[in-house]
Symmetry: C2
Subunit: 345 residues, 2 copies
DNA sequence: CTTAGCACTTGTATAGTTTGAGTGCTAAAA
DNA sequence: TTTTAGCACTCAAACTATACAAGTGCTAAG
């Protein structure tokens, strides 16, 4: 249990350290705190905080820095998100103000904006399409042997892929396949489609094609690609700014982590309704030991929930970042609502 | 004019320095050179080389390192490409041996292989499609308002893009447009298409559509995208390995250079038939001051010429790199010939 | 033309010194 | 019981001094 004063001190330690990067000492705190006590008193309180594992020293006679637990306590109990700078709000409004023609453009742009505002690395994920439904499938012959498969979901997402077919496949065969898929699978959610694809379809498709497997592979391919959550990343290079002492190896592994959609999905974890903060080694992944991750969902009503996140050093100014993330999720949700409203009407 | 012995010394200085990164002194050279002379003699020769601006000191009593001019002389007159390591050849063969279904897959894979072999950053460009011809155009209605435009070249390249149309555009209108384009433009080279697109087409298309501009924009868009040379990049992160003293800013500008297709095309320059080396500030771009670029074309007979390149530190082992690039361009050309032979038959 | 010898330069590494910010503890004051 | 002044102690960082190794240019002799 912390006293009011201890909380005040912990808050000040975190704020100071995240701003300056320098361990903070008792004297500096005494000067700065609103209450009037001597540095010796502060020292006693700091000893108590250290006892509880919330702050620690870098060496035996240094000032204190927050421990992971200290950050945790701060984030859970003490921090108050900064209100957004008017300037930052302008940036959001104008960057998001333009006319977009695809959801993905908005989401991708969002990653850029977020990384600019924070000067960290940002991730964005569009509203989940877990229960998006297949709304259309096309096979378009392109040349003698090439065919493009196109898949559309009811959310307006489009996935496509070109592939080769043996030359003796005729146009009406393709059409039959398309009709089959459209008849049987349209309207189902993507997971349902995948299931059905493995059970019923192969037998039926064999009526039209000698070797149905190739087709099904392709269809399955674009399908999983459509169903996969894909993250946009903004400000990749910002990692370079705060990678202490140019530890090239850990940087590399961090980058390869970021570029693997699966892994990053794993790291970001399940969306909770609130803004959540993961600090340093709270994350299982070793490459993230010195980083913190702020994730938040945004809610676009009946269109589902998406996710935004920023990745920065553990020593990041949480109050400012929480303010930015909080404000941005709102703006993004608004923008998307506008977008859907326009497109659905 | 250099004497035989001076050439020998210059060659040794470059070789030594590129291998070790340490300025090389007269004593080490005397020990290493095949001729039997004292270090004092070497010193005299080195003074002469320095006089001519081919080597320089890092400080008044240090050993010598090659100057840009020294590297140039070495590359132009002294270097002999190393024969490829058998091991390296294995890597190429097996990485390129698989079954590919698209040119782009081969080219993209090539960038990865090259970066692995060299542990630098590699660029690859597929055989130029300057005179690729438009072989097909499709407009596929996807939903109420979405349409996908697909463009195919005779080289088998496919570009596509989805866009929105106002709801009152009817299917037969689309078909008319497609027919128009296919009638008038198929068979022309892409530059010709672009030209005609600005002159003849707008008037004709106005017969079918109230607002033709939207369409033409889209078509122009996919067209330029198809005509644009697109580089594949392999081993981006390798830049981190040899970015001296973690100069974050120059690294960032280098990365943004790499990620801008236009810029990098500019840097790589016009394809010459040979392997060419650009050293440090010979390149106009400031971000490349401490880097060297080896570019080479590869020739796929009637299918045109493509390009490969590697970007590494100015102090790179040129003989080995030239060997790798030289061997790789051959292998890639062979592979592509195989590919085309299979596909054209 | 070559080379041994030598004085001189410079970066790097090591060890010692100083300084300053900070701590814990004690004992007196509140 | 809590606060505070005072003090001895610790440690990183900055600076200084010293030694060392690798290298150079130059001179004079071979």
């Amino acid at each position: 249990m912390l006293s009011e004063r201890q909380m005040m001190i912990l808050r000040a330690v975190v704020r100071d350290f995240t701003n300056t990067g320098v361990p903070v000492g008792s004297k500096a705190l005494a000067k700065q705190l609103p209450i009037h006590v001597s540095s010796a008193t502060i020292r006693n309180e700091m000893a108590a905080l250290e006892e509880q594992g919330l702050i620690k020293k870098t060496h035996s006679s240094s000032g204190r820095i927050p421990s992971v637990e200290g950050y945790r306590y701060y984030v859970d109990h003490l921090v108050k998100p900064d209100p957004l700078q008017p300037n930052d709000m302008d940036v959001i409004q104008s960057s998001l103000g333009g006319d977009f023609h695809k959801i993905d453009e908005i989401i991708s742009q969002s990653a850029t904006i977020l990384s600019n505002l924070t000067s960290y690395t940002a991730f964005t994920l569009k509203p989940e399409l877990k229960d998006a439904r297949l709304s259309g499938f096309r096979l378009v012959p392109l040349g003698r042997r090439q065919v493009m498969a196109i898949l559309v979901t009811d959310g307006g997402d489009v996935e496509n892929q070109t592939f080769d077919v043996s030359e003796d496949v005729k146009g009406d065969q393709l059409e039959a396949v398309v009709r089959l898929i459209n008849d049987q699978l349209v309207g189902l959610t993507l997971p349902e489609v995948i299931k059905k694809l493995q059970l019923d379809i192969p037998a039926q498709i064999a009526n039209y094609l000698q070797s149905p497997t190739g087709f099904l592979d392709i269809f399955g391919d674009v399908l999983t690609r459509a169903a996969q959550e894909r993250f946009y990343v903004g400000g990749r290079l910002n990692l370079l700014n705060f990678s202490q002492d140019s530890d090239v190896d850990s940087l590399k592994s961090l980058y390869s982590l970021i570029d693997q959609s699966d892994d990053i999905a794993n790291v970001l974890g399940q969306p909770s309704d609130n803004i959540s903060v993961q600090i340093g080694n709270e994350m299982t992944n070793d490459a993230l030991r010195n980083y913190s991750l702020i994730t938040a969902t945004y809610d676009v009503d009946q269109h589902g929930k998406g996710m935004i996140a920023i990745l920065g050093p553990t020593r990041m100014p949480y109050s400012r970042m929480l303010g930015i993330v909080g404000a941005f999720r709102e703006e993004l949700a608004k923008k998307l609502l506008d977008y859907y409203r326009f497109y659905d009407e």
